[in-house]
């Protein structure tokens, strides 16, 4: 096994025992990255920063008392502002943008001694489920079953491809409607979206502020617990960061879920769901039952309306958030013709700078917020959102500890295969994950099996608000029972 294949927990233990140095692990990752250009996972490589941080981490470890993430090399989603390092959110409109500040999440990671290998690819402004909306071309799934190239999912597809192909020990992701959990499922890794307000959004390029949360994408559940602990903080710079102390998530991993109540929501058995996904869900249910949990059927009656509510609320917030890209303060400005005024500057800059999906969402958002439609669409969607949250509140009040669902309606699809699909067909990828964002809950995707084609499939566990520790413990039990140890064979 080469060092880039290590998990965070194994690397941490080896680093502390002095069996390996961060510089050695970092160099191993850097060479793996250089040999994996075919995956297009990294959009910016930062080897100088990585080696400098690794050296500093080694010194800190030698001095004793280094935090768990000290010396661990990571990929950072291109949505996080990183000081002096290109931060483009996969959009032409942020071409050349180098932030003068560091996001709270990445600062927390650097303070803990983590190492930045580079920025990883994503869908433009995190709007997409395949990384095909990225201005620098799609990332490629390291899983391959025929001559087609498959998507690693999206929007955190570069993160997922990088983790699955061992181009880092772990990566940061962000999740607005499923953007951590769907790519994790498509690539056979673990991804957790924490409770809304657990992780600071400060310095993360905004998509839909009431839904966005950052989280870790890792090789194991234990790694997710370790890394989430380092990413999370109470942050005065984010007014929606909730003042609840960050617990030791790893300490919650007891592997014991006897007597816990697991809800199986009947509304998630959707029409047209592949038989394999249903079978996987049943197997996962049996695994938790065998571990001593009590299985109960539950109802989340407004599930069906989550997707349309999401596709009103998220674009509405996006249209406001993305109004800042006007060609004045940062990024791209269109070349203007003689006589062009400021309105032409805005309109040309935004037409040339934003890709088609981002433009579509901005315009949908503009429409649902416009006079005469605000009540009919936006306010109605926010009412439905309140009902979706109430569904979950009632289930948790009835004593359910965690909810088990499929993570995605299919395994990874081929790049380009959805090119002729309507925008709405692409949105269906989020069907099992958006409810969690709308209700502000923590959700985790765990790899559980391979489908008949040989591609990874994941299951999602949904937890109580602020119950990430307990949720991760359930995920650990599922991970152990599933024993998913498959890795993509190297073709790149």
């Amino acid at each position: 096994m080469s060092l880039n294949q290590l998990t965070i927990s194994a690397a941490r233990d080896a680093l502390r025992k002095g069996e390996v140095t961060s510089v050695e692990i970092t160099e191993s990752c850097l060479s793996a990255i250089d040999g994996a250009d075919a995956l297009n996972a990294y959009c910016a490589k930062t080897p100088e920063i990585a080696l400098a941080q690794a050296k500093a981490a080694d010194a800190r470890i030698k001095a004793g008392d280094a935090p768990a993430m000290c010396g661990i090399p990571l990929g950072i989603k291109d949505l996080f502002c990183t000081k002096g390092v290109a931060t483009q959110a996969a959009s032409k409109i942020l071409a050349g943008f180098k932030p003068e500040y560091e996001s709270t999440v990445t600062q927390n990671l650097w303070d803990a001694g983590a190492v930045m290998l580079g920025k990883v690819s994503m869908d433009e402004f995190a709007m997409g489920s395949s990384t095909e909306t990225a201005c620098y071309g799609p990332a490629v799934n390291p899983w391959k079953i025929d001559d087609r190239q498959l998507t690693p999912g999206g929007s955190s597809g570069g993160s997922a491809a990088a983790v699955a192909a061992d181009l880092c020990l772990a990566a940061t992701g962000t999740d607005t409607g499923g953007s951590i959990r769907q790519p994790a499922a498509f690539t056979g890794i673990v991804g957790i979206k924490p409770t809304y307000g657990r992780v600071s959004r400060w310095g993360v390029v905004a998509f839909a502020s009431s839904l966005d949360q950052a989280g870790p994408m890792t090789k194991t559940v234990r790694d997710a617990a370790i890394m989430l602990g380092a990413m999370a903080s109470v942050d005065p710079k984010d007014s929606t960061s909730v003042e609840i102390p960050v617990p030791d998530f790893e300490a919650a991993l007891t592997g014991d879920i006897r007597g816990k109540k697991i809800g199986i929501p009947r509304e998630y058995r959707i029409e047209g769901m592949p038989e394999e996904i249903g079978k996987l869900w049943d197997e996962g249910t049996a695994m938790l039952r065998d571990a001593g949990a009590e299985i109960v059927e539950i109802s989340l009656p407004h599930t069906k309306y989550a997707l349309p509510a999401y596709y009103v609320i998220a674009p509405a917030e996006a249209s406001s958030n993305l109004a800042r890209y006007d060609g004045v303060r940062y990024g791209y400005r269109a070349k203007l013709g003689a006589g062009d005024g400021i309105v032409e500057m805005y309109e040309k800059t935004r037409a040339e700078g934003f890709g088609p999906e981002v433009q579509r969402r901005i315009m949908i958002g503009t429409y649902v917020l416009s006079a005469g439609f605000y009540d009919a669409y936006y306010n109605r969607a926010r009412r439905v959102r309140a009902l979706i949250k109430r569904d979950f509140d009632q289930v948790f009040a009835a004593g359910v500890d965690a909810i088990l669902t499929p993570a995605t309606p299919s395994s990874a699809f081929g790049l380009g295969e959805m090119a002729d699909a309507s925008p709405v067909e692409m949105y269906l990828n989020d069907v099992f994950t958006v409810t969690v964002n709308l209700a502000g809950l923590p959700g985790i995707s765990v790899p559980v099996g391979l489908d008949a084609k040989g591609l990874p499939m994941g299951l999602q566990l949904i937890g109580r608000p602020w119950g990430e520790g307990d949720l991760l413990n359930h995920a650990l039990v599922l991970e152990r029972a599933a024993g998913f140890t498959h890795k993509p064979s190297k073709w790149w």
């Binding site: 050349g96 180098k98 932030p99 003068e100 809304y196 307000g197 009431s210 005065p236 007014s239 929606t240 909730v242 003042e243 069906k304 309306y305 349309p308 509510a309 596709y311 009103v312 249209s319 004045v328 303060r329 940062y330 990024g331 791209y332 062009d340 005024g341 400021i342 032409e344 500057m345 805005y346 309109e347 040309k348 935004r350 037409a351 934003f354 433009q359 579509r360 901005i362 315009m363 949908i364 503009t366 429409y367 649902v368 416009s370 669409y377 109605r380 969607a381 926010r382 009412r383 439905v384 959102r385 309140a386 009902l387 949250k389 309507s422 925008p423 709405v424 949105y427 502000g440 608000p465």
Partner: protein, 95 residues
Amino acid sequence: MSIDIDTARKVAHLARIAVAEENLPKLAQDLSGILTFMEQLNEVDVEGVEPMTSVTPMRLKRREDVVTDGGYAEKILKNAPDAREGFFAVPKVVE
């Protein structure tokens, strides 16, 4: 609800995104498709339900209204496509 070409033109302008006249029919069709999908929300009985403002039951934090940051105009201007003499430069706005 279907969106006609005039509405598509208006929305594009409100969003400050230039859309060529020949691309408006496709845009109108895409937007109509998405809005039709959203029509499902009309089936839900939302009588007496307050629109959600915050997913976590919390009051937004407040801080003292004091200056805690600033004084670095050059950093603010550093990423500007056109900055001159300490200002953002834009095409002429007032005749």
